[in-house]
Subunit: 213 residues, 2 copies
């Protein structure tokens, strides 16, 4: 099997969503670095793969996909029978996983990614953190975390029974938040969320991806 | 077949995404109104269905789903063999549709929904439009529309060949933007986008849903 190709960067959260999916599914891959710091994402060869000039883009032979959540779904579908079942088997299981994949995209990620941008990425490029924005977004995030805490009170994973695409989708940004963005104290206020975070971030797939940067 | 139930409001964009999907798939449904203006979305019965207190929520017998894009996917999967094929048949077709479903969620909807909130929803509740926000978000939206225009230069639909979940996902917010939010002049600057908009908004499913408010 020829490896699939991810055009991205090891440190990019969305690239990491895709690589973690490939690790969970035991699919061979190669990463071709698109160096954002050199503007490689705005060059014609990358724009032909990703017209918005973002990363990652993905190729599996003739199949070209972009947007990390779409790529993760393609991988989970195409290699459904190997590795971890990330989508669920019955229509009800799939619906529950899909619900929490969307909750991550719509409720969890908007405040959390804004905080990570302020606390981790801006300082990396020599810019100042706006603590007012961090405080506002932390307030929004805590409301979301309270719902997660109640949901996870009687469950090990977001879909209730097993590690899925829904849990996986939370790994990359939460790792930066907890380990580089001062988020550990916030997450620990929600004990069920913290226990879930320990559970999902200790998976071998994530341990490997997390060590890439 | 017992009808499925949508808990939402006819005028809500996310409720409309679900209803349009049901219309395209010829699935019988009933809408139970959750009146946001009376705070019904924050009451315990609704929070049991949608813990973030948002609309819509969805029930098909014992299967309970929330988040409109997850509901639309459940409907498209469960009734795959009837009505319009919204997801595609091959892995490559599904990947292309999924890519543009995600582009709507990540690139198109953030600026466009902010403009619609400013120009349509705030005035409805007697609040002032912030024209500076509208101008900023319009600049972002136009960059996205330029990419759409190039993508649609040789295609009738976003996945290239047929109306899909990707096109459908754009209907509700774009309709408010074009018909109530001053967006017609902006969209007409992008001729391929405008032709696509005429094509997808003239579908019987959308004509029916659009007339609900």
């Amino acid at each position: 099997m020829a490896p699939v190709t991810i055009y991205g960067m090891n440190m990019s959260t969305c690239t990491r969503r895709v690589i973690t999916t490939l690790e969970e599914k035991s699919v061979p891959y190669e990463v071709v670095t698109v160096d954002l710091s050199k503007g490689a994402h705005k060059q014609p060869d990358h724009l032909a793969r990703q017209p918005f000039g973002q990363i990652p883009a993905f190729e599996d032979g003739d199949v070209k996909v972009f947007e990390s959540r779409a790529i993760a779904r393609y991988i989970s579908n195409k290699w459904a029978s190997q590795g971890t079942d990330l989508l669920g088997k019955t229509a009800a299981e799939k619906a529950l996983t899909d619900t929490w994949v969307e909750v991550e995209a719509q409720n969890y990620n908007p405040p959390l990614s804004t905080i990570v941008a302020q606390k981790v990425f801006l300082p990396m490029y020599g810019q100042q953190t706006d603590e007012k924005v961090v405080a506002q977004e932390t307030e929004k995030l805590e409301k979301v975390l309270a719902v997660y805490d109640a949901h996870l009170a009687d469950k090990e994973y977001l879909n209730g029974s097993s590690f899925s695409a829904a849990d996986l989708s939370h790994l990359a940004y939460t790792d930066y938040y907890v380990n580089k963005g001062g988020g550990e104290a916030v997450l620990k206020k929600y004990p069920n969320v913290w226990a879930w975070w320990q559970r999902i971030s200790s998976r071998p797939s994530w341990q490997k991806v997390s060590a890439m940067y």
